[in-house]
Symmetry: D3
Subunit: 236 residues, 6 copies
């Protein structure tokens, strides 16, 4: 199996982190192929960055699918461009938020997502609502700029710890979901620190992609995700 | 007041139709300025077209705001790019779906949105759900390619009539919302034909934009819609 | 255009305050006509006052419509009698709560309503739920008797400030809605104090009334809001 | 125990029918006292009639409570004035819709309310939503003017049968709720005709009133239903 | 009338407490018959205990119905086995949680359930959601092992007081529901202590059972609760 | 990896069918171990069968875990006993309904579950609601007794086809979920017949179990799923 992990931002160290997390859980025989957006922002923090990242993201999926990728993972917790990608591609496409939420859902009736900046909190709350989990999930922001996660001395980890502790004490969280692709390397350590399930979206998405392929399932092409109707674009 | 109407697709006749509808309801002293996306698809039919249209749309809003526009209207019923535009711009930004739904909501406890293609039905249902109107609104697709609305001999109007009649008979609709910017010229005639309120999103959005400006209200810049954090893009 | 602003309580200073707020935002050429209920309570605080105010309110709308009013605004944040008025009248009828909620909804994904007495909190929460905004809106009461808003030395403004500050800190509010017609004169100052959108329902309703009239839209008369069936009343 | 059954409309034959239904299920030792509104409409069909009926209804409850009634039942399926009555009275107040819905809820996970006129359908749907049963309950209108229920030759019963049959076939209804006080005499016969539970709101409300009294429970007076604050009314 | 109160756990003192509460509110002429599960756990604390208690519970209802019981009450606040019992029995079956929630719902728009252990909080929240009351009800756990309620010196009552006080201050609770059958003897005292309605599920269920029987209503046997299809069990 | 597939009913041919489906998708190196309930009903059709099957099901999971199983799958679409099993076991436990719903959720925004008997429709609708998918999913029953699926000449397959076709035409379904473990062998053929994704719960659950184990995730043991508190059972 060949799985494409696309980082919709243009920070290569984040791509590498996602790929590392992906390879850690990939099945024997699964190839993880990475792509970094050639036109995206350095990080995705809020609605604007997310929307601007989509064309570059879709382009990488198109290239990857043409080159033989059998499923694609959008390595951003905002699930930016997910519906568009499912429409465009013939291979399954997975988003970190949806995959992480359903994975945590198998483990705990109540859990908390800890994300980076406050501006992303409502965006993720709305995804949680869209995925039907609003009655089960709370969202917290740790006030961490995304790229601080790439810097060991930024204090990001301390802030993350503090929010997890508050989630346990105040939210009644029974598990934690890490709400940013840049936190993918922290899950196992945090799980061990706190003795509760800690779900990383990249890992979760890799396993969902493999699961769909093994079951010979791919995106429905009847209705909402029918292939785009070929049409001219103004700049083409 | 200067209101910018941005057509996120690249079909100039649709821009003109939206502008005509806008001018019909604009207050004395309101200037309607039009922009057509320079990079968008010829029409927006489904998730892929909608996502690909966003950067061109945002660019027109940025240009328009710099040139003195005081509010912007995204002339597409899918409200594509709405959150991103609100984040980027300092002027209020309105989408047709949100404006039409709340307008119809003042007139009838139950109503039906009639849109173009079946592939857009779920997308609009999810917007309706997001705007909190799922218990009040049904969505129907008339199986009309968007550009057929630009062609008087396409049979589009007949299909639209048929869906309105089914909405009245089967959905218990008490009013109708036209679910495509390309239907903006049809509202008054249909309202007269059926004797029920028929809401067009372009008109509704113009009045909401004027309403906000007169009240000296603009997008909240605390939290979710805080201005984008300046950062490099890979291709810049 | 002639817009009727009906104060369903019988305190004339509150009527005046609503009229002042209405005139501040009314379009050139819009006449604001005022009416004060001839049978209502001195203020509307909770379910009982609200229900008892309805017949007097409906009577004023009937008189106003007969005298040429083209739309009516019920100047009470509880939207008391709104469905009944829409049924009775042939002109559009607007309520402050519905108008303020949708207006704030264009500006911020999360916001807080600050109302007067604790006994009105659940009533407004239920309106918020009815209007489909429960996932976006919190409601706070500032423990202010309504008529204290008519007295500059009552300390009401301080209490209001305190609740706004708590909304910002604890609710993650990105905008504020003032939850009482008697606060209509405070919006601009509070907006300036806090640097966030502050929405007043009277102003919002005036603009919605104008918006509907310009679009030649009025209440649906098919189904729920069909005109009352003429019938005898016991005391007539 | 003394239970007051108030008919908020002014048709005495409907009061009698409600009282008969009430007496049929009242416990040994429960006195059913009847009151007919002295100012209400001849029947309650839609929002306007309902709102206009409230002051006369509240007056009867006040008189009844002063005369020793220990609980009051509002004999109208629209639960008109229910929150106001609970605020005003110190005795428990029950509405037919709420009582019938919870009673049917003990018997079947899915059921249908059959009401009179189409204009009342949405009003009752919104009550169902308010009471948290929207996922379990459908509402149908039989196109019966309320007073036709007082006339054996009006064809009302046939129309009711037709809707019950459609509820069984199309809605998957497992029980039926009769959605008008004027149908109170039909429940047992329909239950026997169709072999499914048929719930009448008057009977249900009598038993709930007795249940609360026996448990020494009455309306909460902390918060939403706190006694009205004494204040002048304009016409007093 | 003969009402069967089944304690699905095997602690006889809890059965006795439930029976005492039941007899206190039972109508003249209602016989309360008690049964204690012969195979259940000593107490029901969480999902596992609840599921394991069901066969013994169903067996007692079967025996009771055969011996002439006309309705059955499952004396556990988790409503464990309720749907199965309704399917199996031809008599109405009531659960404490459903009965207490609807009873409190007649008295207050917002209230709080106080239960025993934290592990039961989410279970009850999910019941509240299932019964459609999530927008009205909060759930608190007092950290009381169920059997501590049988021991006057366990400190359980103090913990319960503390949670009720927090519910009043922090939740805006206007009434309290006692969330465990083992608290049945405390309702009247707590109601008197705090001056707010305090609902006990056993009492509530007795009155609902009587109410259904007097109305000649029983479980719908069309659809979801159709009698079990006779079939072999592996161990029979 | 050793995955335990427990059939909570006692029909060995159904166990075999589930095991066959499981092995078809199991990863290289995953051992599928089967268990058939020693005390369950011959099939699970509705609430009663489901509740009675739980103790035997839990016993098999206990035995399996002790024998080294690393995850357990409850091979019944009703997810009967799922919460209890997660509480009891230290290994992850998966249910077919939850796994199938989330799997289909990656493929299509709207889909339909086709189950066996009408009596199971509401039960599954309530699961869909519980899992937060009520806005996306419809449930249909094909009127097939479960054991007819074991008999090639029962006509079951024709009935199933008919419901799938109606789901496509009437529900707007974009994918299908097979709502019974006994349909596990039909997914690939139906997928090929209709050209849409067809999801089988057994396959989906196997992949989820593997996914969790590879990610070193197991059931949260803080809060709702904390291990049962050791206590006597009446018959032990």
């Amino acid at each position: 199996m060949r799985l494409l992990v696309v980082n919709p931002n243009s920070t290569a160290t984040m791509t590498q982190k996602a790929v590392d997390a992906a390879r850690l859980v990939a099945a024997h025989g699964t190839d993880i192929i990475a792509a970094t957006s050639k036109t995206g922002p350095a990080s995705i923090e809020g609605y604007y960055d997310g929307a601007m990242a989509v064309p570059g993201l879709l382009e990488e999926i198109r290239i990857g699918e043409a080159a033989g990728a059998q499923a694609a993972i959008i390595a951003c917790f905002d699930d930016t461009g997910l519906d568009a990608a499912r429409t465009m591609a013939n291979i399954p496409v997975l988003g970190l938020c949806e995959c992480a939420l359903v994975t945590a859902g198998f483990l705990a009736p109540r859990f908390t997502v800890v994300t980076t900046l406050g501006r992303s909190r409502v965006l993720i709350e709305d995804l949680v609502h869209h995925y039907g989990m609003a009655h089960r999930v709370k969202v917290r922001a740790a006030d961490i700029p995304v790229l601080d996660l790439e810097d060991d001395h930024s204090g990001a980890l301390d802030k993350l710890h503090r929010q997890i502790e508050q989630a346990l004490m105040q939210d009644g969280a029974e598990a934690i979901v890490l709400g940013c692709a840049g936190m993918a390397d922290l899950a196992l350590q945090l799980q061990s620190d706190y003795g509760i399930p800690v779900v990383d979206g990249v890992s979760a998405a890799v396993k969902q992609a493999e699961a769909l392929l093994t079951q010979r399932l791919t995106t429905a092409k009847r209705g909402s995700y029918a292939p785009p109707i070929p049409k001219p674009f103004a700049d083409s």
